[in-house]
């Protein structure tokens, strides 16, 4: 692509918080459930009810703010954001307008080795809306829709970035970093596919060197890291074409169509950005005690960057390996647990990143769904290290462990996979193979060292792959001297 324009991106991230109850009523905050079974008069928006704020939501929001180096507001309040839509029973969303709980933070991202600091404008608390199930295939082709209000009132924080991102890759790196930090904080499930982590992107272009921002389009409906990146790439291309042809960008909301791989303009009616915010009279202001904030600060877990540095410095892992393993708290915790029983960081890292992640990605699974217990993982590596099984066998056993959750010893026994390393047991077989293959022996003696490979292969065949290749090699050389 030409370097005529600079891409400017800001992201708004919505995060569903992992509380037990909703933000303003004690209805359970659980994903799924039969429609309209997690509801009460408050979240249904019935007249005359009083919302009461869930303290845990404040705690989670402040934790997120601290982890993102934000200022925590000493005085904060809720506001009503007014709009009409069937997923919003009160006809207003309780959110925060001018006094959000956190502001002016930053986060460091690493985009393929390039480190950059991205500003955080603000973090505010709000309630989620309900879910619409359309009668037809899409909203426009539906004659009616069904409304499930289970999600109404689920606590959200919205994290707004400064327009500091310059490419689709940076936006993705930022989003991945956010996911990791929020996962470490244990404040959200952060599953994009389930909607507990969602993001809208504001994208504009300007001539390289220009200071004034161009007109932006807001892109919605990106449900994975991949679609975020693709949607931004498409949008940049679309805007470049318009500008190159001397056209003007229309400020509008566009929806990402995953199947067609394009962004589509949403109807202007839906985006009448005139929310007539007003202070929420049913909820009282929040004044945060600095002592409590300090307690929360002290209780923050080790965050991804710190853990990565520790893995590099103390365990001798490469930047790349440490980055991948600490990119998910579940994975890093798992790695640590395997390490307790098998203290060889590089071997464990290779297995975790190679075999474990390969199988998890192939199965489109979460780390936590992995059936192999850390001590079983360590036991397998031990079996390989002491020569009981070969490296190749270990991989087969690993796949079996991953599929069945059985321990490595059980699988090795069931499959009769024990490696033969005993010299006495192998000696007879080696003599037999030498006697049966005089030409290869001669070749070897004549200096064709490769001929030994054939002999090793014969022995492996005789033992159904159970002979220890190192021992076989050593014995063969001795016998053929």
């Amino acid at each position: 692509m030409s370097q005529k324009y600079e891409t400017v991106i800001g992201l708004e991230i919505h995060v569903e918080l992992k509380t037990a109850t909703k933000i303003f009523c004690p209805c359970p905050n659980e994903f799924g459930g039969e429609p309209n079974t997690h509801v009460c008069p408050v979240c249904l928006g019935l007249p005359g009810v009083m919302p009461v704020f869930n303290k845990r939501v404040l705690e989670f929001a402040v934790k997120a703010g601290l982890a993102l180096s934000c200022e925590i507001a000493s005085y904060s309040k809720f506001d009503r954001k007014n709009y009409y839509y069937p997923d919003l029973p009160k006809n207003y969303q309780v959110s925060q307008y001018d006094l959000p709980i956190c502001k002016l933070g930053s986060v460091e991202i690493n985009n393929n080795g390039e480190v950059k600091t991205i500003g955080i404008t603000r973090i505010h608390m709000e309630e989620d809306a309900g879910k619409l199930l359309h009668g037809g295939a899409t909203i426009t082709s539906s004659n009616y829709s069904r409304v499930d209000l289970n999600r109404t009132g689920v606590p959200l924080i919205e994290i707004v970035s400064e327009p500091d991102l310059r490419s689709a890759e940076e936006a993705r790196a930022y989003m991945e970093k956010m996911k990791a930090i929020l996962e470490y904080l244990d404040v959200s499930d952060v599953k994009m596919e389930q909607g507990s982590l969602r993001c809208d992107a504001n994208i504009s272009l300007r001539l390289v060197g220009a200071e004034k921002l161009g007109t932006k389009a807001e892109i919605k409906n990106m449900n994975s890291f991949r679609s975020l990146q693709r949607a931004i790439e498409y949008e940049v291309e679309r805007q470049t074409e318009i500008l190159d042809e001397g056209g003007r960008i229309v400020q509008e909301t566009r929806s990402w169509d995953e199947e067609k791989g394009i962004t589509v303009s949403m109807r202007s009616k839906e985006e009448a950005h005139d929310y007539r915010y007003l202070p929420e009279p049913d909820l009282v202001p929040i004044i945060v005690d600095p002592k409590w904030v300090n307690e929360l600060r002290a209780s923050l877990p080790e965050l991804p960057d710190a853990r990565k540095k520790r893995f590099v410095k103390e365990l001798g892992l490469s930047e790349y390996d440490a980055g991948i393993i600490t990119g998910s708290r579940a994975l890093a915790d798992y790695f640590d647990e395997v390490m307790i029983k098998y203290n060889d960081p590089k071997t464990v890292a290779n297995w975790v990143m190679g075999e474990l992640l390969r199988l998890i990605n192939a199965g489109d699974m979460e780390i936590t769904e992995n059936k192999i217990k850390p001590d079983q993982f360590a036991a397998l590596l031990q079996l390989q290290a002491d020569g009981t099984i070969s490296g190749k066998m270990a991989k087969t056993v690993f796949e079996e462990m991953f599929a069945t959750g059985k321990g490595p010893e059980t699988i090795v026994k069931e499959k009769g996979m024990v490696q033969i390393s005993d010299e006495g047991a192998l000696a007879t077989l080696i003599e037999k193979v030498i006697a049966a293959n005089p030409r290869s022996v001669e070749d070897y003696k004549a200096g064709k060292e490769k001929a030994i490979g054939f002999l090793v292969g014969q022995i492996m065949k005789e033992t159904k792959g159970q002979a220890n290749p190192g021992v076989v090699n050593k014995l063969l050389i001795e016998k053929m001297k």
């Binding site: 429609p35 079974t37 509801v39 007014n82 199930l133 009282v284």
Partner: protein, 94 residues
């Protein structure tokens, strides 16, 4: 006149109200007279008064994060004009 007919039309759209020409004229006039009357408030000197977010002298009313038994679904849907598969059924949205 502070509020124009266009303002009334805009607010009507936001409020999902359909107004006749007569009503638009009428509301333009009445809304303006209300605003003119409220102008009185601007005569009060508020230069050393902090903006007020809430009229009651209360702060930090919190609830513990403990679930209650949600409403029975039949009750939740009792007043719905129409329902389907345990959901509220609403007319075409766009």
């Amino acid at each position: 006149m502070k509020i124009s007919k266009q303002d009334v039309e805009h607010v009507a759209v936001l409020s999902r109200l359909e107004l006749s020409e007569n009503e638009k004229e009428n509301y333009t006039e009445t809304l303006n007279s209300i605003l003119e009357y409220m102008e009185l408030l601007n005569r009060v000197d508020t230069s050393d008064v902090e903006p007020t977010a809430h009229v009651l002298p209360l702060i930090n009313i919190f609830r513990e994060d403990k679930p209650h038994e949600p409403l029975d679904r039949k009750m939740a849907l009792a007043n719905a004009p129409d329902e389907e598969d345990g959901c509220f059924k609403v007319p075409r949205i766009v």
